[in-house]
Symmetry: C2
Subunit: 195 residues, 2 copies
């Protein structure tokens, strides 16, 4: 324990423990939900005026509402998103992307992606927007950005039902992971679309 002239005490032991905690939190993050990590990163990007992306709420089909208790929904069910989960604006351009995670070590299964999402992303590209996928291989603790046109082409023309991990490593751009933002996906975006 050292006493500084300003009266503050620094307990190095305490500090060391804090660092340990941080490391253990960081390890815990690995298993963290990809969506949650992207949402946190988007919050960072928005607060720092780098990029504005919002997540579309999960569509829910409301069946019954109890108005006697102030509009409480008493019966409803989840609907499939017919578009992607995220869209937004970066340097005036329209961005649209879908985030998917797989526990597979060897490949990314295309069954994860719906026909509607492929159609939506094709339209985004037609209208001059930037369309991509963020794909997480949770077992490898690696996250990649892939231009949507690559996946669309694979989806429509390949007889394979999944993209091998090696191919994703080769054609994709790895998204760096840090404390804040958790996923530096805007760096990958710059690398792919603004070089």
């Amino acid at each position: 324990m050292i006493n500084y002239p300003n009266g503050k005490q620094i307990d190095y032991k305490e500090k060391r423990i804090k660092t340990k905690n941080e490391i253990s939190v960081s390890s815990a993050n690995r298993g963290m939900n990809l969506e949650h990590e992207i949402n946190l990163s988007n919050l960072y990007y928005s607060e720092n005026n780098i990029c504005l992306v919002t997540k579309r709420p999960t569509p829910i089909k409301v069946v019954k509402v109890d108005y006697t208790k102030g509009a409480i929904i008493t019966s409803a069910f989840f609907e499939k998103q017919s578009t992607t989960d995220y869209n937004g604006v970066y340097k005036g351009r329209y961005l649209d992307f879908e985030a998917k995670s797989t526990i597979s070590k060897t490949s990314f299964p295309l069954s994860n992606i719906s026909f509607h999402q492929i159609n939506h992303l094709k339209k985004v590209i037609e209208h001059g927007g930037i369309a991509f996928f963020i794909i997480s291989f949770s077992t490898h603790n690696k996250v990649f950005m892939l231009d949507a046109s690559y996946i669309i082409n694979y989806y429509e023309n390949s007889i394979k039902k999944s993209i091998p991990y090696d191919v994703v490593c080769e054609v994709g751009t790895e998204i760096k992971q840090s404390i804040n933002p958790r996923l530096c996906w805007v760096d990958a975006l710059n690398e792919i679309y603004y070089k």
Copy 2:
């Protein structure tokens, strides 16, 4: 009844009745929900590859889900949209807008717009996106497009709590109404941002 060489008959009486029906449908439309009209127009624009805009689903806070019956939501409530209702892409640019309707003949009440929506639209403008409002005066059967910066300025700096109808007519651009698309809002967009 006239018989034409191609064998087709044209019954002018019938035709006249059809036109009457069309007019009555058009009158009925006046009371139609603004959101529904915009959704139909967006569908037209999407199918004709003019513009791609999607409506954000209403955010719903799910409290209880019954998994025994296949994920039926048994308790939930509506949340306020913290952003706007619509966003999309036009000629590569990011679009973001909110649609509001008023039955008032004399002014558009700003209480219709939330603080969160104003903040969101300010951010859209900062990032180079196009931000606007579609405002319907249902009693007048007139719909206008107003650049968001005008409303933001009014919201933040005016002591008035509503924008007079005359002012909206003057600073806004009227959105033409037709059969399909119901609201030709892309024409107004071109007039304001692409002239």
